[in-house]
Symmetry: C2
Subunit: 505 residues, 2 copies
C-alpha cells in the first residue's frame, strides 16, 4: 500500500484512469509489454485467469455441439483477395511473411532475409478464408452439414497504438466457424453463440452485457449480420466483449462452399463465425478492479483463497504452519462452480503488510490470516476482496460457509456492476441533451462523463457527423426490450429501434 | 473394409509403410494437408487426442511446480544472432515477416506487401531468445529463482519435405523454459522433465522409450546437454519423442540473465528448456496402429467406447435406442485415469458394416453392439480394438469390468510394443554385423530391417562416415544399465558407454 496516497494503486481511477489500468496490471503481475512492438507477455497469474476462462467457454462450446480443431497460422495472400470487404478490413494491418530463411549479410555482418516466397503469406488476423478453403473440400452433401468447429489460436493484427489486453498486435482468442444448409439455421447459430457469450460474461465474469446488433458501419468485414455483447467500464466507456457473425453466403460464394441438397440441387452453404479474446481480461479489470488493484470473481479466479500464516518465532511457525496446511487441505476438498477450491499458502519470508497487499493487488477473492490467537479459538481472520469486509470466523464456520461466501461475492460483483451501468445509462431524446451528455466539463483533462445513451435514431448516416464530432459510436441496437418505435433524437423522424450510444474502447 | 485386400487400410504396413501411415491418418480423420505449403489441419478427432495429451502433460508440469505463461509469436531478427550455435541451427528454415500491411498492386490488380519493417521478425521456431529477453528483466536476485514456466504454443520451422504430424512447417507443442541459481539444480530439472516425458510416453501413450543423452553432433543448438526419449516404430525406425536441454550459461550469457546471489555477487543463471509436440501423435500412430487403422490407448483416446444400435424397424429402433442411451449414461458415470468415460452413441443411418469399420479405423478402444437379441439377454456384443477379440457380455458384467478391461488394453498395448522393440534390439560388436543389420536384402524396395543396435563406440567422429553411408544415426547414449565399459564395435578401442544406433524419422 502506498501510504502517501492511501490506496495500493497510484494513480487512482479518478486521477488517471488509463494509467490506473496499466498499474493494476503491473501490480497484479498479469502481463507486460515485450520487446516486440505491440506484442504482450501474458504472465502466469494472467495466463491462469485465461485458462479458467477457456475451460468454461470450451465446455459451453462442446455442450452446444462444437468440436475443436486447428488450422494453419498462415493465409496465402491471394485468399484474402477473394472476399472484397474482408480484404478491405484486414489488409491494412497484417504481418506479411515474404521469406523463408535468413542468410549472412556481408555488408552488416548480421543476418538478412533470404529465400523469397513465390506468394507472400499473411499471419492470420482471423481465419474465415483459410478455414473456408478447407470447408469447401469437406462439404459435398447436405449430410456433411452442419459443420460446427471452434479453434483456440493466436492471431495478429498490426495495431499502431496498443494497450495490454485491449489492443495488442498478437492476441489469443477462440474463433468458431460453422457451416449450415439453411439461412435460418445459420442465423440461429449466430444468436445462440451470442447467448453463450452473454451467459459467460454475466454468470462467470460478473460483467453485465447488452446483446445487440451492429449497424452496417460497424459490422465485421464480410458479414451480413454482426451481433455483439457490450459492457460498460468504470470510466463509463463501452467495451465490445464478444461478437458473432452471420456471414450469409458471402464467404461460401467467394470460396465455393457448395453442397448437394436432398433434392440433388447444388446450393451455396450459409456460414457463421464468432469469437472472444484475451480482450475479455481487459474488460474484467476495468469492470471490477478498484484503487487497491485487481478484483476477480471467484468462478474464474486462479486461486479462490490465500492463507497467510502469522507467527513470531520458530516454535509458533511450526504450529501455525501445520494448522494452515490442514486448513488448506480441508478447503481444497470442496468444489465451486465445477472446479476444486484452489488455495495458496503464502509462507514467504516477507513482512505481513507487504504480503497482504501483494494478494490484495492480485485480486485473490479471500484472504485468510491465521496466527496463534486465532488458532487458540480454532478461528481465522477472513477478508473479502470485493467488499473489504474483515472478520474473525470459526474454522468450522468457514468450512461450512465457504461456498455461500463465494456465491455471495460472485453475485455482489455482478450486482455492483449492474448498478453502475444503470446509474450511467440514460434515455436521450434531443441533440442538446446528447451533446451535453457526451461533453466533459473539463476539456483539457476530461472527468468521467456520459455513459450509455439509449436513443432512437432513424439512420446511421444522418447521425454519423454528430457522432464523429463527439467521438461517440453506436455500440449496438439492443435485441431485448426494443420493439416499440419512437422518434429519432436528432432528426425527429420516426425510428424503429433504440441504439446504445457511447464512447468506446 | 476393403474386401479385396482383407484389411481396412490399403496398402498394409508390409506393402508400403509410408503410404499406410498416410492412409491411417486419412481414414481416422486425424489431419490433412492444407493449401499452405507444409502446414497441416488437425481435424476434430486428431485435435481431441492432442487435447487429452495436453491435459495429462499439463497436470504433470503443474505437479512438478511449473506455471503456464504466453510469450510473443515473433522474435526480432537480431535476437537470433545473439547465440551463435542457436542461429546456425534455426536461421536456415524460418518464416520471416518483413512487412506490416498489404496495398493494391496497380500492375497485377491484386495485392502486394507494403509498410516494410525496420527490423524483420522471425516466426518463433522455438522461444529461448524471446523468453530469455524477458527473464533477463525478471531475474535480479537469487530470490527470483527458480523460474519454472511452460508455454503451449505454435511454432514454425520451414521444412522442405513435410509429413503429417512428423514434420510440418507449423506444429503445436509445449516448451518449458526454466532458470536456476545453480548448475546442479538446472541439470536436475533437465533430467526431471525427461522422466516426466518418459512416464507420459510409457504410462499414457503405451509407447516404450529409451532415455538417453544425445552425442555432441545431435544436441540442440546452444545446449550443453540434450537428453531425449527414443521410441521404436513398427518399421523398426527410431523416433525422437521428446527432448530436454541443459543450456548451461550459454543463453544467460548471450542474454544477460544475471542475478545477485546470497553473498551479493553477480552470477549468470543456468537455464533449461524442454518440449514435446504434435509429433507425438505420429509416434502413437506408428507404434500401435495396424492394417485396420488407428489403435489408441484408452487413457488418451478421445472416446473410450462407441455404442452401435442394431435394429430392423422403427419399433425395434425405439427400444434399442432407449436401451443404448441408458447404457451410455451408466458407462459415463465411471471414470478412468482421471477422466469420465466418454461414450459415443452412433445412430447414423448407415449400413452396419460401414459403421463398424468407421470406428475400427478411428481406433475407438471398445465397440459395443446392441440388438434385440442382446437386449433380450440383457447383454451386449463387445469388441476390443487392440486384440480384435469379440464376445457377448452381460450388461452388468460390462459395467463391473469396464475399468479392468480398459486397464488390460492399456497394459496390452505397452507389452506388445515392448515385445516388438525387444525383438528388434540387438547388441552388435563388429562392423560386418553392423553393416548386415542395417542393409536391406532388397535395395530397390527395402523390406523392414534392422532395428535398435546397442553398440559400444569410442568416438562419434570415428563412426560417423559409416553411419552416413548406411543412413544410421546415434539416437542416444542410454542412461540406464550403461555403466560397464566395453570395446568399440568399429575401432576396437576401449569405449565407456553403449549407444543406441538406428535409422530414424
Ligand atoms: Zn527456398
Ligand atoms: Zn507503417
Amino acid at each position: 500500500m502506498n501510504k502517501a496516497s492511501k490506496t495500493a494503486i497510484s494513480p487512482t481511477r479518478a486521477e488517471d484512469y488509463p494509467e490506473w489500468y496499466q498499474q493494476v496490471i503491473r501490480h497484479a503481475d498479469l502481463a507486460e509489454n515485450s520487446p516486440v512492438r505491440g506484442c504482450m507477455v501474458i504472465k502466469p497469474w494472467g495466463y491462469a485467469l485465461w485458462e479458467n476462462m477457456q475451460r468454461v467457454l470450451d465446455k459451453k462450446f462442446k455442450e452446444t455441439g462444437h468440436q475443436n480443431a486447428y488450422f494453419p497460422l498462415f493465409i496465402p495472400m491471394s485468399y484474402l483477395e477473394k472476399e472484397a470487404e474482408h480484404v478491405e478490413g484486414f489488409a491494412k494491418e497484417c504481418a506479411v511473411v515474404t521469406h523463408h530463411r535468413l542468410e549472412a549479410d556481408p555488408e552488416t555482418g548480421g543476418l538478412r532475409p533470404a529465400g523469397p516466397l513465390e506468394e507472400p503469406l499473411i499471419v492470420r488476423p482471423t481465419s474465415e478464408t483459410i478455414i473456408g478453403a478447407m470447408y469447401a473440400k469437406w462439404v459435398q452433401s447436405y449430410r456433411d452439414l452442419p459443420i460446427l468447429i471452434n479453434q483456440w489460436a493466436n492471431v495478429v493484427r498490426w495495431e499502431m497504438r496498443t494497450r495490454l489486453f485491449l489492443r495488442t498486435a498478437e492476441f489469443l482468442w477462440q474463433e468458431g466457424h460453422t457451416v449450415h444448409a439453411t439461412k435460418e439455421e445459420a442465423i440461429e447459430e449466430t444468436y445462440k453463440m451470442l447467448d453463450v457469450y452473454a451467459d459467460f460474461a454475466e454468470n462467470y465474469m460478473a460483467v453485465p452485457v447488452i446483446k445487440g446488433e451492429k449497424t452496417a458501419g460497424e459490422r465485421f468485414p464480410g458479414a451480413d449480420i454482426t451481433v455483439s455483447i457490450e459492457a460498460m467500464m468504470q470510466d463509463r466507456k463501452a467495451l465490445q466483449a464478444g461478437t458473432s457473425h452471420f456471414l450469409g453466403q458471402n464467404f461460401s460464394r467467394a470460396q465455393e462452399i457448395k453442397f448437394q441438397d436432398q433434392n440433388s440441387e447444388i446450393s451455396y452453404a450459409w456460414t457463421t463465425s464468432w469469437g472472444v479474446s484475451t480482450r475479455l481480461i481487459g474488460a474484467l479489470i476495468m469492470t471490477h478492479s478498484d484503487d487497491d488493484g485487481m478484483v476477480i470473481p471467484p468462478k474464474i479466479a486462479p486461486a479462490h483463497a490465500v492463507i497467510l500464516p502469522i507467527y513470531r518465532d520458530e516454535t509458533q511457525r511450526a504450529e501455525v504452519l501445520a494448522y494452515c496446511q490442514e486448513l488448506k487441505q480441508e478447503l481444497s476438498k470442496q468444489a465451486y462452480a465445477g472446479r476444486a477450491i484452489e488455495v495458496e499458502l503464502d509462507d514467504r519470508d516477507l513482512r505481513g503488510g507487504e504480503k497482504k497487499w501483494y494478494h490484495v493487488k492480485r485480486g485473490v477473492p479471500l484472504r485468510i490470516e491465521v496466527g496463534p490467537k486465532d488458532m487458540a479459538k480454532d478461528a481465522v481472520f477472513l477478508a473479502r476482496r470485493d467488499t473489504g469486509k474483515q472478520e474473525s470466523m470459526g474454522r468450522a464456520d468457514l468450512l461450512a460457509n465457504l461456498l455461500s461466501i463465494l456465491d455471495d461475492m460472485q453475485a455482489n460483483l455482478l450486482t455492483r456492476a449492474k448498478a453502475m451501468r444503470e446509474e450511467f445509462t440514460q434515455e436521450i431524446n434531443s441533440e442538446a441533451e446528447f451533446r451535453k451528455y457526451f461533453t466533459p466539463k473539463n476539456a483539457d483533462n476530461p472527468e468521467f462523463h456520459g455513459g450509455f445513451a439509449m436513443c432512437y435514431f432513424s439512420s446511421e448516416e444522418e447521425v454519423q457527423p454528430l457522432l464523429d464530432e463527439l467521438k461517440v459510436t453506436i455500440r449496438c441496437i439492443p435485441i431485448d426490450d426494443n420493439d416499440t418505435p419512437g422518434i429519432c433524437f436528432l432528426t425527429g423522424k420516426p425510428a424503429e429501434k433504440k441504439g446504445v450510444f457511447a464512447k468506446a474502447y
